[in-house]
Symmetry: D2
Subunit: 374 residues, 4 copies
């Protein structure tokens, strides 16, 4: 690639070897004919597609969008009626980006869904190379991951990392509803999808309930037994909301905030301080009452869930108004800012594909309005 | 996800809150109606697409294919005639996978092209977030990367990592032809593509010619000045073929080989022993005369270039016969084995997307015939 | 090194070059004469010291020892009387290993002291390449590290990493007493000790009080601003006891314990999950009522402080009985087991030189009674 | 530590608890009495030793020194006569720093010796936790490490990392003489020394001769089989001089040099680009004819061996003149500069304890004459 030019205008000559069948043709007439001949040999000219292949800046296809929980919940419960227990394998509504309809994704790289488990239902164990995060919206129940039952209630984050056997169940009085975030589009792009059903019985519990949260869920202390952990994901499967909100409020009370995201914390892998999963990062952030953050943009895309409060996120000039339990997306490279004009703090959870950008050396972040550097 | 079932057959009840408009509908009649209503709200049922989203094993769309250099070279030189010096920005033939026609890629994740620079031509400087490897097929010339001119001749590997300014030129007597391997599809998928032209003049040389190869190109010694290098890519931009083939022959002479790949070596980043680029790895391998390797498969896809010798690679039962300077692709998860029935060693160069699989925890490898684990 | 022998008994001959002055001497008579001649040239025979240099197993010089807090506190307060405010720079009692008297160290590699700051006193700012941990025994006050005031009360762990400016003060009603653990012997061995006084005024506070604890002290969440932290030590300077004990009790309640250490947690660096300092690791552990741990040994040495409860640690056959606020040492490679025959849990804090053993590839651990492997 | 003072001059009071036996004593009379009472309880005042424990800058005990190879070789061969084959386990002359006589070390942290193996002699296999480097001065032979025989001749570097079984032999016509560099003082300080004899027979060869050098000794290519290597040391046991000197000359010819060390390269671990051993780093450097390097100092100490040429190293104002095959030491934190007033390049090999300084966060480097920062 690059803009070639002759050094001196004169056409160089050279030994063409066995090139007897190369015929002189005029450019105007012969290009298409030449292109056709290339296609016969599974080749194509770069020069007709170069600028599409290497645009100056990213062009996301996904658009900003907000899903109102009122609607999502109503539809979910309709699905609960519609889809019988026997078919309940499927009680998930996929949040499809309006610009990616039919493609089962919220952004180009993130799948998001809202899952309903009715009281008394269970999902039998299975595993897949896709990684998932589950963020509880309402109800109580559990996800069992690799023999550890993780109790779930509002605001808890549960990981089912790629390759880890898991099952779910709702053993409370009320429907259990959570946000699913998966890297399905990423794993699909990589052609690295593996799925395995693991029988019809609930997974045997081989560890204490909430074992990883008991060992690593609070304070900055690790069990020495975690040394040598070499999986790509966090060994902590449950991040209890009680701890998360306490940490977030402590940060806020301490006056520590960022210009673009209010007081923000990333859920991390206790082993190495990195993201919870190799493909997805999770954040909790508090936008104080009366705050407008600085607009910026970055290559990762994000799915946000409103845990508390209400506000507006302006994305590429479009206002997404949100309140408690709503979900919205900010596509990659979209300029965005958060606005909280209410009297109380707003708390957002989000899941992004940032770790992929960082691992591949592709992460870029820029304040709104700043011109580019390559 | 997962196969839900009621714990006891009895339908649980619960408080549905403000659910007055939920009407009982029969399953048969109402599903489509329900789906339509979901679409209005940018939602979709998971249960109609679940098995497509989570197949049991990867299904690559790309197919095995070999490009004969005879044809490629002839077409390239035709392009040299057809495309004038002024338009020479574009003197590349893209190797398009037959199953991905029109999509400018050799596999789902790798772009490959054959580039021609005629004697006396130069490409003016530019940079892009896409990373590239250049493997020289014939001719001599240079690529300048970040102010270091890297001399190029047959078999040399030159890196132009993402974000690094670079230009090219052919200052020998003959056409300079090389294989381009780029991560264009990956960067496109990530929506992280940035391109910048850097003027019309050749980049000033700020370092000695071949500086990085002189400092790090041979032996296992690093200049201490490289400490603290924190880029995602190798600081060594030129891997001279003289060193590569000597290393490969020493390995072979020492009797060290692998069941699936003969005697094989990976080009590495001197700073950390990792792949040369965060998105692509490069290998050189020697398949001894009279060898058939064990068949296996792995999630990464690969573009191979034949440096020396001839043979056959059997890919998912399809025989790709190749000889010197040919290029062929092995899609991800395709079972493949290399066969060299000739009297001389065959030497292959390859570029793969393996680092992405490893960074994301998605790498899997399996001997042919072995049944799966999740 | 190694036991050389002639291959065939016959003495080989060779060209001795310019060796005219080598005289034949009988072994018995001439060795000492030869050794003396070596000493003249700053050389020495290896064969007279080989077995001392390379013993089969470590031989620690340090011995197990316990310091009763009754005595320590009484002596400290005597020092408070004896040493005037003007001289108070020095209000520390060094815990000297009985076998290392006069060498200011608790084990060969760890310095331990008990420091007293009287109400109203301050220590003016300074910094040194030695790293320190401070574990509060009683009283209240603060340590300011790099502009962050860390509030101190019973059980809190405060770090003053190597090179970080810090000062201290007791602003409560009572004497502030803490355990100091420093790597003084290690830094002395490395000849890497640097000390700098930083004026007579308290360090200006440039961050919120307890800023790092507010940002990272609880839950598994990191502020994104911590990315790129490249110091060798933890950015978290204060590990509040409230969090530590809660984590320890959660682990214990969950039934998770180790055979050799009860329920044990390591204080970690939030950035990378590693030890808090490059030279020292800190642990909190709970020995349940009625427990005798399995005896084992490891190359690191440790200084223990009893936070709660009472018990006995048997070290190389010697019983160290301890109760609340006592301090004791377990030398490296000493076989040790903890015994708690009381009705309540005992809680121990400890600081060890383990990170050095691990960084240098020298860490070894072995159950008591097991014969060696190299 | 730190300079305490009362906030307001007035002496604070507080509850002294059970302090009845604290008697008022005058400072002048009672201090020694108090100190004696402390000693009875294995305690000591910090204030009498503080300034010795925390000096402003490192004070190395070791002094600069050069060992002339003429003398070393003569004494070695005398030892060859004196020490019979049966006792040949011990044919090493330890280079003792004149200021550390009797302590078997060249600097506070490095052991250096010159070892002689007479033609036909072998050393039977053994292993120890101490790591060693062997730099060949003359003769030919081998060291076998973990079943790989590494052929040795002039200038080759062979590693016998801590814990790796190894043996040696001289199978050429001439005496085999090499420089030993070991971390004996470091491992002794850590009380982590383990030694094991491994029988009377030479170690069986389980790998091809020079296997690691064949696989990793040249070019920047790694066998994929090395992935997952998790030892603390390099898997490359032999760094052939032919490669080293070629790399050094290429660097020099390319005009790449440093102000303080001429053209310098570090031998690295192929797996991670780090030092060859966790405790010791090795360098080769070329001081061009007519060069005086800039004076500087750093905390690590170094043992240098002159491979080629002659010159002078000025260390803390003392001139060490050296020529081919001499060995000299530069203590830690000593200001030093290299001077080559001859007509040919001088080439130095060196081994240092730098990795320990870096691992522990203690590395400091400073130009001569610069005042300190903490």
């Amino acid at each position: 690639m690059g803009n070639y030019k002759a050094l001196d205008g004169a056409r160089p000559t050279w030994d063409r070897g066995d090139m007897a069948d190369t015929r002189a043709v005029t450019e105007a007439e012969s290009r298409q004919q030449f292109y056709d001949s290339l296609a016969d040999h599974s080749m194509a000219p770069l020069w007709t597609s170069l600028h599409d292949l290497l645009p100056e800046e990213p062009r996301s296809q996904a658009v900003p969008h907000v899903w109102s929980y009122d609607i999502v919940r109503r539809k979910l419960l309709e699905a609960g009626d519609l889809v019988s227990a026997r078919d309940a394998e499927r009680r998930v509504l996929v949040l499809e980006n309006p610009a990616l309809a039919g493609r089962s994704r919220a952004t180009e790289r993130l799948y998001a869904g809202i899952q309903l488990v009715l009281p008394g239902e269970i999902a039998v164990p299975h595993r897949h190379s896709q990684a998932a995060i589950r963020f509880v919206i309402e109800g109580t129940g559990y996800t069992t991951v690799e023999g550890e039952q993780c109790r779930m209630s509002m605001g808890d984050l549960v990981l089912t990392p790629g390759g880890c056997p898991h099952d779910h169940g709702a053993d409370g009085e009320d429907p259990l509803i959570w946000l699913d975030g998966l890297d399905i589009p990423i794993v699909e792009f990589m052609r690295a999808t593996f799925f395995e059903a693991l029988g019809d019985e609930p997974m045997p519990l081989t560890k204490p309930v909430n074992a990883s949260a008991a060992a690593m869920g609070r304070a900055r202390l690790n069990p020495p037994t975690i040394r040598g952990w070499d999986a790509a994901h966090s060994p902590l499967f449950l991040y209890p909301w009680t701890e998360t909100i306490a940490a977030l409020e402590a940060l806020h009370a301490s006056g520590q905030s960022t210009p673009t995201d209010g007081s923000i914390l990333e859920y991390v892998n206790p082993v190495n301080g990195g993201p919870v999963l190799p493909t997805m990062a999770c954040y909790a952030q508090l936008i104080p009452a009366g705050t407008r953050t600085d607009a910026h943009r970055h290559t990762p895309s994000a799915v946000y869930h409103v845990v508390q409060g209400e506000g507006t996120t302006v994305v590429d000039g479009r206002e997404l108004s949100w309140s408690e339990k709503d979900t919205f997306v900010v596509p990659g490279w979209a300029v965005h800012e958060h606005v909280n004009e209410s009297q109380q703090s707003a708390v957002l959870f989000s899941v992004t594909d940032e770790p992929v950008h960082r691992a591949l050396g592709l992460y870029r972040e820029r304040p709104a309005g700043q011109r580019r550097g390559g």
